[in-house]
Protein backbone atom coordinates (compact mmCIF):
# COMPACT_ATOMS: atom_id res chain seq x y z
CA UNK A 1 0.00 0.00 0.00
CA UNK A 2 1.25 3.55 -0.62
CA UNK A 3 1.90 5.60 2.53
CA UNK A 4 -0.72 8.20 1.71
CA UNK A 5 -4.28 6.95 1.17
CA UNK A 6 -7.60 8.35 2.26
CA UNK A 7 -7.27 9.15 5.99
CA UNK A 8 -11.06 9.30 6.30
CA UNK A 9 -11.31 5.57 5.76
CA UNK A 10 -7.83 4.33 6.65
CA UNK A 11 -8.03 2.16 9.77
CA UNK A 12 -5.53 3.23 12.44
CA UNK A 13 -5.41 -0.35 13.73
CA UNK A 14 -4.64 -1.83 10.32
CA UNK A 15 -2.24 0.88 9.12
CA UNK A 16 1.53 0.64 9.37
CA UNK A 17 3.52 3.15 11.41
CA UNK A 18 4.55 4.95 8.22
CA UNK A 19 0.98 5.13 6.94
CA UNK A 20 -0.24 6.47 10.27
CA UNK A 21 2.28 9.27 10.50
CA UNK A 22 2.06 10.22 6.80
CA UNK A 23 -1.73 10.50 6.96
CA UNK A 24 -1.93 11.99 10.45
CA UNK A 25 0.17 15.03 9.54
CA UNK A 26 -0.62 17.60 6.86
CA UNK A 27 -0.26 15.85 3.50
CA UNK A 28 3.29 15.65 2.22
CA UNK A 29 4.89 17.38 5.22
CA UNK A 30 6.42 14.43 7.05
CA UNK A 31 10.22 14.32 6.92
CA UNK A 32 11.94 11.38 8.60
CA UNK A 33 15.10 11.47 10.72
CA UNK A 34 17.57 8.57 10.62
CA UNK A 35 15.33 6.85 8.09
CA UNK A 36 15.64 3.34 6.68
CA UNK A 37 18.29 4.45 4.16
CA UNK A 38 20.64 5.02 7.10
CA UNK A 39 20.31 1.36 8.09
CA UNK A 40 20.24 2.01 11.83
CA UNK A 41 19.63 -1.61 12.78
CA UNK A 42 19.80 -3.44 16.07
CA UNK A 43 23.31 -4.69 16.84
CA UNK A 44 21.81 -7.28 19.20
CA UNK A 45 19.05 -9.19 17.39
CA UNK A 46 21.46 -11.28 15.27
CA UNK A 47 22.69 -12.90 18.51
CA UNK A 48 19.19 -14.32 18.82
CA UNK A 49 18.98 -15.27 15.15
CA UNK A 50 16.19 -12.74 14.72
CA UNK A 51 15.58 -10.57 11.65
CA UNK A 52 16.25 -6.85 11.89
CA UNK A 53 14.44 -3.82 10.50
CA UNK A 54 16.06 -0.85 8.80
CA UNK A 55 14.19 1.48 11.15
CA UNK A 56 14.27 -0.78 14.27
CA UNK A 57 10.48 -0.55 14.44
CA UNK A 58 10.04 3.19 14.94
CA UNK A 59 9.67 6.14 12.56
CA UNK A 60 10.67 9.59 13.86
CA UNK A 61 10.60 12.95 12.15
CA UNK A 62 8.90 16.30 11.72
CA UNK A 63 5.99 17.77 9.83
CA UNK A 64 3.06 20.04 10.34
CA UNK A 65 -0.33 19.34 11.86
CA UNK A 66 -3.05 21.84 11.06
CA UNK A 67 -0.25 24.13 9.93
CA UNK A 68 1.70 23.92 13.21
CA UNK A 69 5.15 22.42 13.38
CA UNK A 70 5.32 19.13 15.26
CA UNK A 71 7.77 16.32 15.92
CA UNK A 72 6.35 12.82 15.66
CA UNK A 73 7.35 9.25 16.52
CA UNK A 74 5.39 6.20 15.34
CA UNK A 75 6.03 2.70 16.65
CA UNK A 76 5.55 -0.27 14.30
CA UNK A 77 3.68 -2.94 16.23
CA UNK A 78 4.32 -5.49 13.52
CA UNK A 79 8.08 -5.50 14.13
CA UNK A 80 8.99 -7.22 17.43
CA UNK A 81 5.65 -6.08 18.87
CA UNK A 82 6.77 -2.46 18.70
CA UNK A 83 9.01 -3.14 21.66
CA UNK A 84 11.72 -0.81 22.96
CA UNK A 85 15.18 -1.98 21.91
CA UNK A 86 18.35 0.06 22.09
CA UNK A 87 18.00 1.91 18.78
CA UNK A 88 14.20 2.06 18.90
CA UNK A 89 14.34 3.77 22.28
CA UNK A 90 17.27 6.04 21.40
CA UNK A 91 15.40 7.42 18.36
CA UNK A 92 12.50 8.48 20.58
CA UNK A 93 14.86 9.92 23.21
CA UNK A 94 16.76 11.92 20.60
CA UNK A 95 13.54 13.33 19.16
CA UNK A 96 12.27 14.43 22.57
CA UNK A 97 15.59 16.00 23.53
CA UNK A 98 15.65 18.00 20.30
CA UNK A 99 12.19 19.36 21.12
CA UNK A 100 13.77 21.64 23.73
CA UNK A 101 15.67 23.45 20.96
CA UNK A 102 13.24 23.05 18.05
CA UNK A 103 10.26 24.17 20.18
CA UNK A 104 7.52 22.51 18.13
CA UNK A 105 3.87 23.06 19.00
CA UNK A 106 3.81 19.42 20.14
CA UNK A 107 5.57 16.10 20.08
CA UNK A 108 3.24 13.31 18.96
CA UNK A 109 3.91 9.73 20.06
CA UNK A 110 1.98 7.10 18.10
CA UNK A 111 2.25 4.21 20.56
CA UNK A 112 2.12 0.60 19.39
CA UNK A 113 4.19 -1.41 21.83
CA UNK A 114 4.34 -4.45 24.05
CA UNK A 115 6.95 -2.72 26.23
CA UNK A 116 10.61 -3.64 26.59
CA UNK A 117 12.22 -5.84 23.91
CA UNK A 118 13.49 -8.69 26.05
CA UNK A 119 16.44 -9.44 23.77
CA UNK A 120 17.70 -5.91 24.58
CA UNK A 121 15.98 -5.58 27.94
CA UNK A 122 18.44 -3.38 29.82
CA UNK A 123 18.81 -0.96 26.93
CA UNK A 124 15.04 -0.81 26.42
CA UNK A 125 14.28 -0.28 30.11
CA UNK A 126 16.87 2.48 30.41
CA UNK A 127 15.57 4.15 27.24
CA UNK A 128 12.08 4.20 28.76
CA UNK A 129 13.45 6.00 31.81
CA UNK A 130 15.31 8.45 29.56
CA UNK A 131 12.13 9.00 27.54
CA UNK A 132 10.09 9.83 30.64
CA UNK A 133 12.71 12.32 31.82
CA UNK A 134 12.85 13.91 28.35
CA UNK A 135 9.03 14.17 28.21
CA UNK A 136 8.88 15.99 31.54
CA UNK A 137 11.69 18.29 30.37
CA UNK A 138 9.72 19.10 27.21
CA UNK A 139 6.47 19.60 29.11
CA UNK A 140 8.13 21.87 31.65
CA UNK A 141 9.36 23.96 28.71
CA UNK A 142 5.76 24.36 27.55
CA UNK A 143 5.79 21.77 24.76
CA UNK A 144 2.76 19.45 24.65
CA UNK A 145 3.45 15.74 24.33
CA UNK A 146 0.43 13.95 22.88
CA UNK A 147 0.06 10.16 22.88
CA UNK A 148 -2.14 8.35 20.33
CA UNK A 149 -3.07 4.76 21.14
CA UNK A 150 -5.00 2.41 18.89
CA UNK A 151 -2.50 -0.01 17.34
CA UNK A 152 -2.50 -3.78 17.27
CA UNK A 153 0.21 -4.13 19.92
CA UNK A 154 -1.59 -1.75 22.31
CA UNK A 155 0.47 0.17 24.87
CA UNK A 156 1.92 -2.15 27.49
CA UNK A 157 4.73 -2.37 30.00
CA UNK A 158 7.00 0.65 30.02
CA UNK A 159 4.92 2.03 27.14
CA UNK A 160 2.07 2.40 29.61
CA UNK A 161 4.29 4.40 31.94
CA UNK A 162 5.41 6.67 29.10
CA UNK A 163 1.76 7.17 28.14
CA UNK A 164 1.03 8.21 31.73
CA UNK A 165 3.75 10.86 31.41
CA UNK A 166 2.22 12.52 28.32
CA UNK A 167 0.23 15.77 28.46
CA UNK A 168 -2.78 14.24 26.71
CA UNK A 169 -3.84 10.85 25.33
CA UNK A 170 -6.26 9.85 22.60
CA UNK A 171 -7.44 6.23 22.34
CA UNK A 172 -9.65 4.15 20.13
CA UNK A 173 -11.60 1.13 21.31
CA UNK A 174 -8.62 -1.09 20.41
CA UNK A 175 -6.24 1.10 22.35
CA UNK A 176 -5.36 -1.10 25.28
CA UNK A 177 -3.23 0.56 27.97
CA UNK A 178 -1.76 -1.36 30.88
CA UNK A 179 1.51 -2.17 32.61
CA UNK A 180 1.24 -5.94 32.97
CA UNK A 181 -0.32 -7.49 29.89
CA UNK A 182 -2.99 -10.19 30.20
CA UNK A 183 -0.53 -13.01 29.44
CA UNK A 184 1.99 -11.65 31.94
CA UNK A 185 -0.58 -11.56 34.74
CA UNK A 186 -1.83 -15.02 33.87
CA UNK A 187 1.68 -16.49 33.66
CA UNK A 188 2.70 -15.05 37.01
CA UNK A 189 -0.55 -15.20 39.00
CA UNK A 190 -2.69 -17.82 37.30
CA UNK A 191 -5.77 -17.86 35.09
CA UNK A 192 -8.06 -17.36 38.10
CA UNK A 193 -6.46 -13.91 38.58
CA UNK A 194 -6.64 -13.03 34.87
CA UNK A 195 -7.79 -15.29 32.06
CA UNK A 196 -5.92 -13.87 29.07
CA UNK A 197 -8.10 -15.84 26.64
CA UNK A 198 -11.19 -13.98 27.86
CA UNK A 199 -10.98 -11.22 25.26
CA UNK A 200 -14.04 -9.38 26.58
CA UNK A 201 -12.35 -9.17 29.98
CA UNK A 202 -9.20 -7.78 28.37
CA UNK A 203 -11.14 -5.03 26.56
CA UNK A 204 -13.19 -4.15 29.65
CA UNK A 205 -10.14 -3.90 31.89
CA UNK A 206 -7.54 -2.31 29.59
CA UNK A 207 -9.38 -1.13 26.47
CA UNK A 208 -9.98 2.38 25.21
CA UNK A 209 -13.55 2.69 26.45
CA UNK A 210 -12.62 1.94 30.08
CA UNK A 211 -9.59 4.22 29.89
CA UNK A 212 -11.70 7.07 28.48
CA UNK A 213 -14.53 6.74 31.02
CA UNK A 214 -12.13 6.78 33.98
CA UNK A 215 -10.15 9.75 32.65
CA UNK A 216 -7.02 7.74 31.84
CA UNK A 217 -7.38 9.05 28.29
CA UNK A 218 -8.64 12.48 27.23
CA UNK A 219 -10.24 11.68 23.89
CA UNK A 220 -11.89 8.68 22.27
CA UNK A 221 -11.61 8.21 18.52
CA UNK A 222 -13.23 5.98 15.99
CA UNK A 223 -10.64 3.73 14.35
CA UNK A 224 -9.58 6.02 11.50
CA UNK A 225 -6.48 8.09 10.93
CA UNK A 226 -8.70 11.13 10.34
CA UNK A 227 -10.27 10.77 13.79
CA UNK A 228 -6.87 10.58 15.48
CA UNK A 229 -5.73 13.60 13.47
CA UNK A 230 -8.65 15.70 14.67
CA UNK A 231 -8.13 14.50 18.26
CA UNK A 232 -4.44 15.43 18.14
CA UNK A 233 -5.25 18.90 16.78
CA UNK A 234 -7.79 19.46 19.55
CA UNK A 235 -5.65 18.06 22.37
CA UNK A 236 -2.62 20.24 21.60
CA UNK A 237 -4.77 23.24 22.47
CA UNK A 238 -5.75 21.95 25.90
CA UNK A 239 -2.54 20.36 27.18
CA UNK A 240 -2.09 20.81 30.93
CA UNK A 241 1.03 22.36 32.45
CA UNK A 242 3.66 20.29 34.20
CA UNK A 243 4.01 21.74 37.69
CA UNK A 244 3.31 21.09 41.36
CA UNK A 245 -0.30 22.26 41.15
CA UNK A 246 -0.99 19.80 38.33
CA UNK A 247 0.64 16.92 40.20
CA UNK A 248 -1.31 17.74 43.36
CA UNK A 249 -4.49 17.66 41.30
CA UNK A 250 -3.46 14.32 39.78
CA UNK A 251 -2.69 12.93 43.24
CA UNK A 252 -6.20 13.92 44.32
CA UNK A 253 -7.77 12.51 41.16
CA UNK A 254 -6.04 9.13 41.47
CA UNK A 255 -6.65 8.87 45.23
CA UNK A 256 -10.33 9.58 44.64
CA UNK A 257 -10.42 6.82 42.03
CA UNK A 258 -8.93 4.26 44.43
CA UNK A 259 -11.27 5.40 47.18
CA UNK A 260 -14.38 5.14 45.01
CA UNK A 261 -13.57 2.10 42.92
CA UNK A 262 -10.95 0.22 44.91
CA UNK A 263 -13.38 -2.54 45.84
CA UNK A 264 -14.77 -3.02 42.32
CA UNK A 265 -14.03 -6.38 40.76
CA UNK A 266 -15.02 -5.53 37.20
CA UNK A 267 -15.03 -2.46 34.99
CA UNK A 268 -18.81 -2.64 34.64
CA UNK A 269 -19.14 -1.93 38.39
CA UNK A 270 -17.00 1.18 37.95
CA UNK A 271 -19.02 2.32 34.94
CA UNK A 272 -22.24 1.92 36.93
CA UNK A 273 -20.81 4.07 39.73
CA UNK A 274 -19.83 6.67 37.14
CA UNK A 275 -23.54 6.99 36.40
CA UNK A 276 -23.86 4.89 33.27
CA UNK A 277 -27.34 3.40 33.17
CA UNK A 278 -26.60 0.21 31.29
CA UNK A 279 -22.92 -0.62 31.81
CA UNK A 280 -23.27 -4.05 30.20
CA UNK A 281 -24.14 -2.31 26.92
CA UNK A 282 -20.91 -0.27 26.79
CA UNK A 283 -18.63 -2.84 25.08
CA UNK A 284 -20.97 -3.27 22.09
CA UNK A 285 -21.85 0.41 21.83
CA UNK A 286 -21.03 2.26 18.59
CA UNK A 287 -18.27 4.85 18.72
CA UNK A 288 -20.74 7.71 18.33
CA UNK A 289 -23.04 6.47 21.09
CA UNK A 290 -20.08 5.88 23.36
CA UNK A 291 -18.68 9.36 22.80
CA UNK A 292 -22.02 10.83 23.79
CA UNK A 293 -21.99 8.87 27.04
CA UNK A 294 -18.35 9.69 27.80
CA UNK A 295 -19.10 13.39 27.36
CA UNK A 296 -21.54 13.12 30.26
CA UNK A 297 -19.05 11.56 32.70
CA UNK A 298 -17.44 14.36 34.70
CA UNK A 299 -14.51 12.20 35.88
CA UNK A 300 -13.50 11.54 32.27
CA UNK A 301 -12.26 15.06 31.50
CA UNK A 302 -9.72 16.95 33.60
CA UNK A 303 -6.38 18.78 33.58
CA UNK A 304 -4.77 16.58 36.21
CA UNK A 305 -2.25 14.76 34.07
Amino acid sequence: MPDVTDPQTLSWYEASARQRVANLLDAGTFEEFVGPAERAMSPHLPLFDLPRAFDDGIVVGRGTLGGKSVLAAAQEGRFMGGAFGEIHGAKLVGLLRAALDVKPAAVLILFDTGGVRLQEANAGETAIAETMRAITDARAAGISVIGLIGGRAGCFGGGGLIAGTCSRLAVSESGRISVSGPEVIETNKGAEEFDSRDRALVWRTMGGKHRRLTGSADAYCEDTVAAFRQAAIDLIETAPRFDLAMLEAEQGRLEARLHRFGACRDATEIWAQLGINDPDAVPAMTDAAFQEIAAGVTEASHDAR
Binding site: F33, E38, A40, H44, R62, E86, G89, A90, K91, V93, G94, L95, R97, A99, V102, L118, Q119, A121, N122, A123, G124, E125, T126, A127, I128, A129, E130, M132, R133, A134, T136, G157, G158, G160, L161, A163, G164, T165, S178, S180, I185, T187, E193, F194, T205, H210, R211, T214, S216, F242, D243, L244, L247, Q251, L254, E255, R257, G262, C264, I270
Partner: protein, 238 residues
Protein backbone atom coordinates in the same frame (compact mmCIF):
# COMPACT_ATOMS: atom_id res chain seq x y z
CA UNK B 1 23.17 -4.30 53.40
CA UNK B 2 19.73 -4.30 54.96
CA UNK B 3 17.61 -1.16 55.11
CA UNK B 4 18.39 -0.87 58.85
CA UNK B 5 22.14 -1.05 58.11
CA UNK B 6 21.78 1.57 55.38
CA UNK B 7 19.83 3.97 57.60
CA UNK B 8 22.33 3.53 60.44
CA UNK B 9 25.22 4.29 58.10
CA UNK B 10 23.39 7.28 56.59
CA UNK B 11 22.12 8.81 59.80
CA UNK B 12 24.58 8.16 62.67
CA UNK B 13 22.64 10.65 64.83
CA UNK B 14 19.37 8.76 64.35
CA UNK B 15 16.43 9.22 62.00
CA UNK B 16 12.68 9.16 61.57
CA UNK B 17 12.38 6.71 58.68
CA UNK B 18 9.74 4.00 59.02
CA UNK B 19 8.51 1.05 56.98
CA UNK B 20 4.83 0.18 56.65
CA UNK B 21 3.54 -2.51 54.28
CA UNK B 22 6.94 -2.51 52.59
CA UNK B 23 6.80 1.25 51.88
CA UNK B 24 9.59 3.41 53.27
CA UNK B 25 9.01 7.07 54.24
CA UNK B 26 10.61 9.58 56.58
CA UNK B 27 13.71 11.69 56.95
CA UNK B 28 16.89 12.17 58.86
CA UNK B 29 19.62 14.78 59.36
CA UNK B 30 22.39 14.93 56.79
CA UNK B 31 25.17 17.42 57.33
CA UNK B 32 22.99 20.12 58.82
CA UNK B 33 20.08 19.68 56.41
CA UNK B 34 17.31 17.15 55.95
CA UNK B 35 17.51 14.07 53.74
CA UNK B 36 14.08 12.71 52.88
CA UNK B 37 13.74 9.00 52.24
CA UNK B 38 11.05 7.25 50.21
CA UNK B 39 11.31 3.69 49.04
CA UNK B 40 10.28 0.07 48.96
CA UNK B 41 11.69 -2.64 51.21
CA UNK B 42 11.49 -6.42 51.41
CA UNK B 43 11.06 -7.28 47.73
CA UNK B 44 7.56 -5.77 47.86
CA UNK B 45 5.63 -5.37 44.59
CA UNK B 46 4.49 -1.83 43.76
CA UNK B 47 0.78 -1.45 43.08
CA UNK B 48 -1.61 1.48 42.73
CA UNK B 49 -1.94 2.05 46.48
CA UNK B 50 1.79 1.98 47.21
CA UNK B 51 2.60 4.23 44.28
CA UNK B 52 0.20 6.92 45.53
CA UNK B 53 1.53 6.65 49.11
CA UNK B 54 5.04 7.30 47.86
CA UNK B 55 4.02 10.07 45.45
CA UNK B 56 2.14 11.81 48.29
CA UNK B 57 5.35 11.75 50.34
CA UNK B 58 7.32 13.26 47.44
CA UNK B 59 4.72 16.02 46.94
CA UNK B 60 4.90 16.79 50.68
CA UNK B 61 8.65 17.31 50.35
CA UNK B 62 8.13 19.63 47.38
CA UNK B 63 5.63 21.80 49.23
CA UNK B 64 8.28 22.64 51.84
CA UNK B 65 10.35 24.30 49.09
CA UNK B 66 13.57 23.94 51.07
CA UNK B 67 15.30 22.08 48.24
CA UNK B 68 15.99 19.16 50.57
CA UNK B 69 17.36 16.09 48.80
CA UNK B 70 15.34 12.89 48.40
CA UNK B 71 16.81 9.39 48.64
CA UNK B 72 14.81 6.71 46.83
CA UNK B 73 15.84 3.43 48.50
CA UNK B 74 14.70 0.35 46.63
CA UNK B 75 14.41 -3.37 47.31
CA UNK B 76 11.20 -4.19 45.43
CA UNK B 77 9.57 -6.81 43.32
CA UNK B 78 8.24 -5.73 39.91
CA UNK B 79 4.95 -3.89 39.57
CA UNK B 80 2.10 -5.70 41.33
CA UNK B 81 0.58 -7.96 38.71
CA UNK B 82 -3.16 -8.10 39.23
CA UNK B 83 -6.48 -7.48 37.59
CA UNK B 84 -7.36 -4.87 40.23
CA UNK B 85 -4.21 -2.83 39.71
CA UNK B 86 -4.69 -2.67 35.94
CA UNK B 87 -8.41 -1.94 36.30
CA UNK B 88 -7.57 1.07 38.50
CA UNK B 89 -4.93 2.45 36.12
CA UNK B 90 -1.57 1.18 37.38
CA UNK B 91 0.17 2.88 34.45
CA UNK B 92 -1.11 6.27 35.61
CA UNK B 93 -0.19 5.68 39.25
CA UNK B 94 3.35 4.53 38.45
CA UNK B 95 3.82 7.37 35.95
CA UNK B 96 2.49 9.82 38.56
CA UNK B 97 5.14 8.66 41.05
CA UNK B 98 7.87 9.00 38.43
CA UNK B 99 6.58 12.46 37.46
CA UNK B 100 6.60 13.54 41.11
CA UNK B 101 10.27 12.50 41.44
CA UNK B 102 11.18 14.14 38.13
CA UNK B 103 9.45 17.38 39.07
CA UNK B 104 11.09 17.37 42.53
CA UNK B 105 14.46 17.05 40.84
CA UNK B 106 13.65 19.87 38.39
CA UNK B 107 12.52 22.01 41.32
CA UNK B 108 15.90 21.78 43.02
CA UNK B 109 15.45 18.76 45.31
CA UNK B 110 18.32 16.46 44.34
CA UNK B 111 16.98 12.94 43.81
CA UNK B 112 19.31 10.05 44.54
CA UNK B 113 18.28 6.45 43.88
CA UNK B 114 19.78 3.68 45.98
CA UNK B 115 19.09 0.13 44.93
CA UNK B 116 20.14 -2.31 47.65
CA UNK B 117 18.05 -5.37 46.76
CA UNK B 118 15.87 -6.47 43.90
CA UNK B 119 13.80 -4.35 41.54
CA UNK B 120 12.26 -4.99 38.18
CA UNK B 121 10.15 -3.67 35.36
CA UNK B 122 7.52 -1.02 36.16
CA UNK B 123 8.50 -0.68 39.81
CA UNK B 124 12.10 0.01 38.83
CA UNK B 125 11.12 2.59 36.17
CA UNK B 126 8.74 4.43 38.52
CA UNK B 127 11.23 4.75 41.39
CA UNK B 128 15.00 4.26 41.10
CA UNK B 129 15.15 5.01 37.37
CA UNK B 130 13.24 8.29 37.86
CA UNK B 131 16.05 9.83 39.94
CA UNK B 132 18.89 12.10 38.83
CA UNK B 133 21.60 9.71 40.01
CA UNK B 134 21.14 6.01 40.68
CA UNK B 135 23.59 4.36 43.05
CA UNK B 136 23.67 0.69 43.97
CA UNK B 137 25.11 -1.40 46.77
CA UNK B 138 26.95 -4.62 45.97
CA UNK B 139 24.53 -7.53 45.99
CA UNK B 140 21.70 -5.47 44.45
CA UNK B 141 19.81 -7.30 41.75
CA UNK B 142 17.98 -5.05 39.30
CA UNK B 143 16.46 -6.76 36.31
CA UNK B 144 13.84 -6.40 33.64
CA UNK B 145 12.92 -10.08 33.70
CA UNK B 146 14.65 -13.16 35.12
CA UNK B 147 16.28 -15.56 32.67
CA UNK B 148 13.73 -18.41 33.02
CA UNK B 149 10.97 -15.94 32.01
CA UNK B 150 13.11 -14.60 29.15
CA UNK B 151 13.57 -18.22 28.02
CA UNK B 152 9.80 -18.72 28.01
CA UNK B 153 9.11 -15.59 25.99
CA UNK B 154 12.00 -15.88 23.52
CA UNK B 155 11.60 -19.68 23.24
CA UNK B 156 15.35 -20.08 23.63
CA UNK B 157 16.81 -22.76 25.91
CA UNK B 158 17.75 -21.48 29.37
CA UNK B 159 21.24 -22.97 29.06
CA UNK B 160 21.87 -21.02 25.87
CA UNK B 161 20.65 -17.77 27.48
CA UNK B 162 22.88 -18.36 30.50
CA UNK B 163 25.82 -18.80 28.17
CA UNK B 164 24.94 -15.66 26.18
CA UNK B 165 24.43 -13.66 29.36
CA UNK B 166 28.11 -14.04 30.21
CA UNK B 167 29.20 -12.07 27.14
CA UNK B 168 26.17 -9.88 26.36
CA UNK B 169 25.19 -7.34 29.03
CA UNK B 170 22.32 -5.86 27.00
CA UNK B 171 19.68 -8.43 27.94
CA UNK B 172 20.95 -10.22 31.04
CA UNK B 173 19.65 -9.45 34.52
CA UNK B 174 21.88 -8.29 37.34
CA UNK B 175 23.68 -5.27 38.72
CA UNK B 176 26.79 -5.48 36.53
CA UNK B 177 24.66 -5.40 33.38
CA UNK B 178 22.58 -2.42 34.57
CA UNK B 179 25.82 -0.61 35.38
CA UNK B 180 27.08 -1.42 31.87
CA UNK B 181 23.84 -0.04 30.35
CA UNK B 182 24.42 3.23 32.24
CA UNK B 183 21.17 2.85 34.18
CA UNK B 184 23.12 2.64 37.43
CA UNK B 185 25.61 5.49 37.70
CA UNK B 186 27.79 4.22 40.53
CA UNK B 187 28.27 1.32 42.95
CA UNK B 188 28.90 2.42 46.52
CA UNK B 189 31.37 0.94 49.00
CA UNK B 190 29.51 -0.68 51.90
CA UNK B 191 32.67 -0.55 54.04
CA UNK B 192 32.65 3.25 54.04
CA UNK B 193 29.98 5.42 55.70
CA UNK B 194 27.05 5.98 53.30
CA UNK B 195 26.60 9.40 54.85
CA UNK B 196 29.71 10.74 53.11
CA UNK B 197 29.11 8.83 49.89
CA UNK B 198 25.56 10.17 49.47
CA UNK B 199 26.76 13.71 50.29
CA UNK B 200 29.37 13.25 47.59
CA UNK B 201 26.72 12.28 45.04
CA UNK B 202 24.59 15.30 45.96
CA UNK B 203 27.58 17.60 45.61
CA UNK B 204 28.43 16.22 42.19
CA UNK B 205 25.08 15.83 40.41
CA UNK B 206 25.23 15.48 36.64
CA UNK B 207 23.66 18.52 34.99
CA UNK B 208 21.75 16.41 32.44
CA UNK B 209 20.85 12.81 31.63
CA UNK B 210 24.23 11.10 31.11
CA UNK B 211 23.00 7.52 31.08
CA UNK B 212 23.50 6.95 27.37
CA UNK B 213 27.07 8.29 27.58
CA UNK B 214 27.77 5.91 30.48
CA UNK B 215 26.22 3.03 28.53
CA UNK B 216 28.47 3.76 25.58
CA UNK B 217 31.63 4.11 27.67
CA UNK B 218 30.90 0.92 29.59
CA UNK B 219 29.86 -1.06 26.52
CA UNK B 220 26.39 -2.08 27.70
CA UNK B 221 24.59 0.20 25.24
CA UNK B 222 27.04 0.65 22.41
CA UNK B 223 24.90 2.68 19.98
CA UNK B 224 22.11 4.48 21.90
CA UNK B 225 24.05 7.68 22.49
CA UNK B 226 25.06 8.09 18.84
CA UNK B 227 21.58 7.31 17.54
CA UNK B 228 19.91 9.78 19.91
CA UNK B 229 22.46 12.42 18.93
CA UNK B 230 21.95 11.74 15.22
CA UNK B 231 18.16 12.07 15.49
CA UNK B 232 18.48 15.23 17.56
CA UNK B 233 21.01 16.66 15.13
CA UNK B 234 18.74 16.12 12.13
CA UNK B 235 15.80 17.59 14.04
CA UNK B 236 17.77 20.70 14.96
CA UNK B 237 19.07 21.17 11.43
CA UNK B 238 15.77 22.62 10.32
Amino acid sequence: MTLADILASLFPEGHGVTVADGLVTGHGPLDGRTLHVVGIDGDTPLGVDGALTLSAAVLDVMRAADKAPILVAIDSDSQRMSRRDELLGLNECLAHLAKALLLADRSGHPTIGLIYGHSAAGAFIATALATRVLAALPGANPSVMDLPSVARVTKLPLEKLQQMAKSTPVFAPGLDNMVAAGAVHVVLDPERPLHAQILGLIADLPSHDVRDRLGQERGGRPVARDIAARVAGQARAG
